[in-house]
């Protein structure tokens, strides 16, 4: 099978502007059948706008979208039966119970009775929601609402699932369950496009597209993206992350410093020669630290570095 046959969603030169702002600007990428494809980028990068155009609820100003061989810009309705789209803010009917919400969306997609019941039970069980089926959606926690949204979006069997920041504001346990469901769907052959603000989740995708100001910066597997990064990442383990950041941010050869849970990560051009300089700077600044060592870059390091390269005037 060649690559062209495998791709199920193709965006080609996609453009959308709102008044002055080009929210999406000549964006091209293609998503392969059966993969989890991540759209990542800072707020305002154009992720939601891209998702909406793919879902057919926003008309692009230019460019094309082909979903499963069908030009959906010409006929947005033709893509809808194949698609499932979970907006950033999923529209649940708060007065309706979990079951009633599911039934409503199942009716809209004309899902057969036995199929919907089986699917709903399985999805609700996977997300630990089985005992809440009679509860009103408005009384669910944020994480449960997102899981119910996913269940509603999946109650018909879509080939392609579009998820816009489905895990934002969701607790870690629910997030793990959520990803469990996504892996299960990938097994079933569902293609998933996901946007996320959590870069540890980006690492779970097969391929990633990094968006910035409506442009595509890079599109590759997480591993390949890490290789693309020039230099090395030095991890400084310290409880005084901010002080450490301040002490080393302006050193020569340090292109980037980001705060992480355990301290700071510094991107340097050459680890061997820069570590002593970093050590000196920290001691001069009276910053207490436990350890300083080269580490494998996380996807977050990579993105911050790549974005920084992009923003820096050339």
């Amino acid at each position: 099978m060649n690559a062209a046959r495998e791709s199920i969603v193709t965006a080609d030169g996609l453009t959308k502007r709102f008044a002055e702002v080009a929210a999406v600007d000549g964006l091209s990428f293609s998503v392969n059948h059966g993969e989890i494809f991540g759209l990542v980028g800072p707020d305002g990068a154009g992720k939601t706008t891209t998702m909406r155009m793919l879902a057919g609820v926003l008309r692009p100003d230019g460019g094309g979208i082909v979903i499963d061989g069908v030009d959906v810009v010409a006929d947005p309705e033709s893509g809808k039966p194949h698609l499932s789209y979970m907006p950033q803010r999923f529209g649940l009917y708060e007065e309706l119970t979990v079951d009633e919400n599911i039934r409503f969306y199942a009716d809209l997609f004309e899902v057969a009775q036995d199929v919907r019941e089986e699917r709903a039970s399985r999805l609700l069980a996977a997300s630990g929601m089985s005992q809440f089926r009679g509860r009103r959606a408005g009384q669910l926690s944020g994480g449960m609402k997102q899981k119910l949204g996913l269940t509603c979006a999946l109650v018909h069997t879509p080939q392609i699932l579009l998820l816009d920041e489905p895990t934002t504001g969701v607790d870690p346990v629910s997030r793990r369950e959520f990803w469990g469901i996504l892996y299960g769907l990938r097994e079933e052959g569902v293609t998933i496009l996901i946007t996320t603000a959590y870069l540890d989740e980006a690492e779970r995708c097969n391929r990633l597209a990094l968006l910035h100001n409506g442009h595509l910066l890079y599109c590759d597997t997480p591993a390949a993206l890490k290789q693309r990064m020039s230099g090395a990442v030095v991890a400084i383990t310290s409880s005084a992350g901010r002080a450490a950041h301040a002490a080393i941010a302006d050193l020569a050869g340090v292109s980037n410093v980001i705060l992480v849970g355990s301290g700071v990560h510094a991107v340097v051009d050459d680890a061997a020669s820069r570590i002593p300089a970093l050590r000196d700077a920290l001691q001069r600044g009276n910053v207490v630290f436990d350890d300083i060592a080269v580490t494998a870059p996380s996807i977050e390091d990579v993105f911050v570095a790549l974005l920084e390269d992009e923003r820096r005037p050339r």
Partner: protein, 375 residues
């Protein structure tokens, strides 16, 4: 083809059933407004503030003034001492009506001549002024009549009837019929406001909450969506009309001489055309705030230009044209005719046809306007 209408309807009713505030708003305010406006909206005049100047100080003049004092229509605020006092009372709006009995009033009467009674009316509200004049005329005529009868008995001879010095107002109707005319109008107006308000927010709210985006990615057709919104509000509207008509019949004792089915049919067409107005507003606006302002902008002219209080025939031609797209205009004719006159379809059919065309046109427009996109 229209399979998705039923789930839409079920969903709408479930939402309504669970929404305590909405249930309350559908029942209590309409009843209260019906009671309130049923009393407020009337051409009849009660308790007209009145100033009196008696320069005659005769038995006759006191008799005449007593007829005003004892009459519920007039409220004698002030017994003036001079013409200046009268002028001041009218100028300061202390009194709407002033009655002056000039010296020599009794003498003229005793001579069997017509006696003048000076009446000054504040014409600012010409309607009230005319009606008050009508009452004064009635009282004066009654007084003259009684005086003649009395005089004949006392004198025992034929006297020529005394002249009534005020002009007659033959259209005046001192009875309760004014309320009969207005209560059906209040029913129609309340229903219009309620239904347009309900439906105008129906789609905008889903847009704001975010459920609309979800509905748009489903294969639902615009017609299914719009009709799915139409059916529940239509049924709710029927309930509302039944409620306010019941208040009209049971509380205000409005007669219902016509055929209930003619009224039902007319009400159905009226509801369809009014909720189509609301749905159109809802498809055009993108926020509830916008819908609110648009409603206000639309409903006021609908009310003024409906024939509720101001006869359409007296309006300038341009405004009369506007009334043709006003569903309330037709419904007021239908509801007054069916309740009060017992007129049937043979007479009302043009209004029925007009409402049907409006409903069809506006619903089609809503369906065409409803794009399954976020812009």
């Amino acid at each position: 083809m229209f399979a998705r209408i039923i789930p839409m309807v079920i969903k709408e009713f479930l939402q309504l059933r669970r929404d305590k505030a909405a249930r309350f708003l559908l029942v209590v305010p309409p009843i209260l407004q019906m009671l309130l406006f049923g009393y407020a909206a009337t051409f009849e005049v009660y308790h007209v503030s009145t100033a009196v100047l008696d320069l005659d100080h005769s038995q006759e003049s006191r008799d005449l003034i007593a007829r005003f004092t004892s009459n519920g229509r007039f409220n004698v605020m002030k017994l003036a001492r001079s013409q200046r006092g009268i002028d001041k009372a009218i100028d300061s709006s202390e009194a709407t009506v002033a009655i002056v009995v000039h010296a020599g009033f009794a003498e003229l009467l005793r001579k069997g001549q017509g006696a003048p009674l000076q009446v000054i009316v504040d014409g600012t509200n010409s309607n009230t002024a005319l009606i008050a004049l009508g009452y004064i005329n009635t009282i004066a005529a009654g007084f003259a009549q009684d005086y003649v009868t009395d005089l004949m008995q006392r004198v025992g001879q034929e006297t020529r009837p005394l002249q009534v010095t005020l002009e007659q107002w033959p259209w005046f109707n001192p009875d309760l019929n004014g309320r009969w005319f207005f209560v059906p109008g209040v029913i129609g107006t309340l229903t219009l406001v309620l239904i347009v308000n309900l439906t105008a927010f129906a789609i905008v709210r889903e847009r704001e909450v975010g459920t609309l985006e979800q509905i748009m990615v489903s294969p639902i057709r615009p017609a299914e969506f719009i009709l799915g919104k139409t059916v529940p509000f239509f049924l709710v509207g029927l309930g509302e009309v039944a409620l306010v008509v019941a208040v009209g019949l049971l509380w205000f004792r409005i007669p219902f001489v016509g055929n209930p089915f003619v009224l039902l049919f007319g009400t159905a067409l009226f509801l369809l055309s009014s909720l189509a107005v609301g749905l159109l507003i809802s498809t055009v606006c993108s926020t509830q705030q916008q819908a609110f302002s648009t409603n206000f902008f639309i409903l006021s002219p609908f009310f003024i230009l409906s024939g509720f209080a101001f006869p359409i025939a007296s309006m300038p031609q341009v405004l009369q044209w506007f009334t043709f797209v006003n569903p309330l205009r037709y419904y007021l004719v239908v509801i007054r005719a069916t309740l009060l006159k017992g007129v049937g379809i043979d007479v009302l059919w043009p209004d029925f046809v007009a409402m049907a065309i409006l409903a069809l046109l506006l619903l089609t427009l809503s369906i065409l306007r409803f794009r399954k996109t976020l812009e």
